[in-house]
């Protein structure tokens, strides 16, 4: 079946603008995760959804970052008033947590560049 999809694949924006990134998880996966990878770094956990609720928001780097998930499927990550340090690849993953597996499957990512 289809894997995790993300859009857009690339986004260039000016400092101070808001951006919205979208993730479409694997059909039937109840858990959804957002990560970001800055240049030369490993993946940094941002937020996790189980269904539509986000029990763990501890990874969000500031209150400019927010995420929502509706219908237990698509999720959007919103960054308000973007800063240059927000430039990174934003990756989404999903897993079938209710099946008892923690294996997460990743999308191709959105490369965000803040000028």
């Amino acid at each position: 079946g289809a894997g995790v999809s993300q859009s857009p694949s690339n986004k260039v924006t000016e400092k101070g603008k808001d951006v919205e990134l979208r993730c479409d998880p694997i059909s039937g996966h109840t858990a959804l995760y957002w990560y970001r990878q800055s240049l030369g770094q490993g993946l940094e956990f941002l937020i996790y959804f189980q269904g539509n609720s986000a029990p763990d928001k501890s990874g969000l780097p500031s209150d400019r970052f927010s995420a929502e998930r509706t219908g237990g499927s698509v999720s959007t990550l919103t960054i308000q008033r973007t800063q240059q340090e927000d430039s990174a690849v934003y990756l989404c993953a999903s897993s079938d947590k209710l099946a008892g597996t923690d294996t997460q499957y990743f999308g191709p990512g959105t490369r965000l560049t803040v000028l």
Binding site: E44, P55, D102, T103, P108
Partner: protein, 114 residues
């Protein structure tokens, strides 16, 4: 404070030989470990995982070994093939009590030499 460490940023191995990628962790709460492979401009691809109740898991050319007392795991690829050239990330889960974002190392760039 890095809880998952991959101390080798890069590793070069001859085609056909064994590639061994290493990973150390500090948090004893981790109970599930994964290896991902990443090509440029793509998302990480799941390779293999291991639960903390096991010390070895094998899948084709890939074997992961876990040494809990040393808080160390390794990925063995044998024989190494040119298509294995990629960045390999070690990841762990279980430290957040079920709200499980993975904790990743910074990756090791594996280069398979012909």
């Amino acid at each position: 404070d890095q809880q998952v460490k991959q101390n080798s940023p890069s590793l070069s191995v001859q085609e056909g030989r064994i590639s061994i990628l290493n990973c150390d962790y500090t948090n004893s709460m981790f109970d599930y470990f994964l290896w991902y492979k990443k090509y440029p401009a793509e998302g990480p691809t799941f390779l293999i995982s291991i639960s903390s109740i096991k010390d070895k898991n094998e899948d084709g050319r890939f074997t992961v070994f876990l040494n809990k007392s040393a808080k160390h795991l390794s990925l063995h690829i044998v024989p190494s093939q040119p298509g294995d050239s990629a960045v390999y990330f070690c990841a762990a889960s279980g430290a957040r009590g079920g709200a499980d974002g993975l904790t990743f190392g910074k990756g090791t760039h594996l280069i398979i030499q012909p």
